[in-house]
Assembly symmetry: C3
Homo-oligomer: 114 residues x 3
């Protein structure tokens, strides 16, 4: 059965099916926050969606990270590394890409097991 | 069982396995069409591949959208929003990325349930 | 059961679950190699991870390719086309994106069936 979470008119923030949950591109609520604040916010939003879907960050399978400025890579990693479950790191990719709002410093998608 | 649809020498346009179908990056057939025409074409191609795989847009789980010019975001959304099944919006991410042909204005990948 | 391969402190190079394996963004070991050398290296690393997870390139479902310079598209394809299993091409997408290290010429992620 397909379940959709935080369903809006354009997208669901998460969709689960067949033992997996797909997390939509998460961006910071406070778009004027600095890089570290935005990364923390995005990770908190992913964690909340995982909880809502009945899972948690130890079950993350893959994470895709988009940075409008790839020079933010190390600063993003510092926050990410402190957040992840060190016993259960996801497969990850991080590339540079401009985002829908020029104030956004990071966007992440993820797939997790239920 | 893995099934491959519209199989070419370089890629399959869709591949299904284990209750999921992965749609390859779809681009417009008419590369001289405007943004709206290209988005419509891409969405029609996704819909045709979903049909071929035995599913439909109400079962889309996740969609990734690449725009060479992120300023096309709102114009793309207008076409996308009119196309989607409003009861069943997918998890979505949209970022800026240049594409293989400079005439292309949009490329989309997707994962759907069968 | 979730299995993590080549597990580091930040990421796993591959994570399998429920009949699928997710390959993290693979980049060349020799970052001073040319485009062709880097593509070959990335594909060899994907192949090794697939082997480690108990599968192979004939079971690739989807591949995402990131090129910092989209003008490398044809040269990348030449190596990719020679490498893939012609009976079993994956769904594929390729877009331009700058990578974490400016010497890197290509990064690829993938999903395969087990």
């Amino acid at each position: 059965m397909i379940k959709r979470y935080e369903k809006g008119t354009r997208m669901s923030q998460a969709v689960s099916y067949g033992g997996l949950v797909y997390i939509a591109g998460q961006v910071a609520n406070d778009r004027k926050a600095g890089l570290e604040g935005q990364v923390s916010d995005v990770l908190a939003k992913i964690e909340a969606l995982l909880t809502e879907a009945g899972t948690d960050k130890s079950k993350l399978l893959a994470v895709n990270i988009f940075l409008p400025n790839i020079l933010d890579f190390e600063a993003m990693n510092k926050v990410y590394d402190a957040w992840l479950d060190p016993e259960n790191p996801a497969a990850r990719a991080c590339v540079e890409a401009r985002l829908a709002d020029p104030d956004l410093r990071v966007e992440m998608t993820a797939v997790a097991a239920l």
